[in-house]
Amino acid sequence: MAGKRKERARVASQRLLAPGIYDMRIATDLAKDAGCGQFVALYPKDKSTLLPRPISICEADRQAGELRLVYRVAGKGTAEFSHLQAGDSVDLLGVLGNGFPAGRAQRSMTAALLGGGIGVPPLLELAKELDCDRRIVVGYRDSQCFLREDFEAQAPGHVYIATEDGSVGTKGNVMDALRENGIAPDILFACGPLPMLRAVKQYAIEQGILAYLSLEERMACGVGACLGCVCQTAGVDPHSHVHNARVCTDGPVFEAREVEI
């Protein structure tokens, strides 16, 4: 795997997927180094916004050299990105982070992929990279179930939806949908808001199974130098020598028992 680098790339396409949710494809050789659960950091052009914005990789087309990023407009930086069009240039830093260890799911296992809100996109590349039985459980606020068709294409008949307003699938969250559909996974992979990840961790401990959680934290450097984005660890972290790991470099994916969330 090549080293991390900052480069100027071209936007291949961008479209609106759901209100506030954008689907951007970027032509970049970084795609060749990218794996599921990793992220890149995009730089706004507006110089009043200095820091790059970490965005998870939804799909990495290694042959074509294209990254697909599905993100939510959350502030000034992402608002600027949403106006990019095919052919525009964009500076990005990548590939960052330790992603999902797809290899931990053996072929005989059933893996549950749990995603909530803007935590849903990285599960798509994971679904492609897993070589086992997959149950994809994704939670949304309402009927704007972005990426649903992409997941159906990966795991036909095994995509389960939860919505907060009950408009599609199970009314409730992904854990409600997991139980309602009688899914009994051997291993879990999850990305979503903190309360969801806490519930996933608790479930994994009760069931005695492995769960890999993708965490989020405010970042500055994205490469492990600034120690801005730490999470609390159960044991003394081998790098920091305190109970802190760096979400950007030691994570963002951690086994549930390693982290205090």
Binding site: G3, K4, R5, K6, Y43, K47, S48, T49, L50, L51, P52, L93, E217, R218, M219, A220, C221, G222, V223, G224, A225, C226, L227, G228, C229, V230, C231, H239, S240, H241, V242, H243, N244, T249
Partner: protein, 301 residues
Amino acid sequence: MKTSVTIAGVEFKNPVMTASGTFGSGMEYGEFVDLNRLGAVVTKGVANVPWAGNPTPRVAEVYGGMLNAIGLQNPGVDVFIQRDLGFLEQFDTRVIVNVCGRTVEDYLEVVERLADTRVDMLEINVSCPNVKEGAIAFGQKADALYGITSRIKKAARQPVIMKLSPNVTDITEMARAAEAAGADAISLINTLTGMKIDIERRKFVLANKTGGLSGPAIKPVAVRMVWQCANAVKIPIIGMGGIASAEDAIEFLMAGATAVAVGAMNFVNPYATMEVAQGIENFLAGHGIEDIHEIIGCVNR
């Protein structure tokens, strides 16, 4: 063309350093930057024992800059000597270790542990605004600064740089106190204490409520303070605060800094240090300047 500078008898191949806390010990940015190209790597603050730092969120972006309240998380001097110094030994660059502590004794313990290492200089952190004990407590009163500086000077085997805080009424008073106590150099500025409030949540953005402001937003303040100190003391100054380009660095040199450090902009452009070093060379060549000393402090002559 001569780009080398000397501070307290230590020669640096060029005046470009890394600002403490923005570059780790060089391992992470070694993937982007040829560390051999730098005048010095200034490490993140090291204490006598591991420090866990502050709760998150620790960083926030603000207009033209950022706030941080990391709280000097570090693995402690023993791990640092073995791992970080071991790593830095591979490179042909100077190593300046930033030292932090809660009490004078904490600082002295680190200084003594580093005495027999290859470390070229010590930078004493009396200016971090994000910890409750130590650090800035020693850097906001001239007599306290004088006291810690003289005790560290007695114990230190390497030349001592005192890193000054801009969060004072008159920074020249601090510079004079450091000089009078025997400091070999001063570095400035550390971050300016700031705050950001999330108006939707009606809450502080940083868990620590306040944080240190850095980035281009603070550069004019930093240049002014370097100029003030250059006219107040004879010891060399390492200037920093929002340096993003060679042009920024040259402003600091002209204001009177013998060397400069790139800080928050490493986060924005991981190649910033190398680009600044190259840009200074290009400036000197482009202006027919034989020796960088021709521009150091030139506005004061």
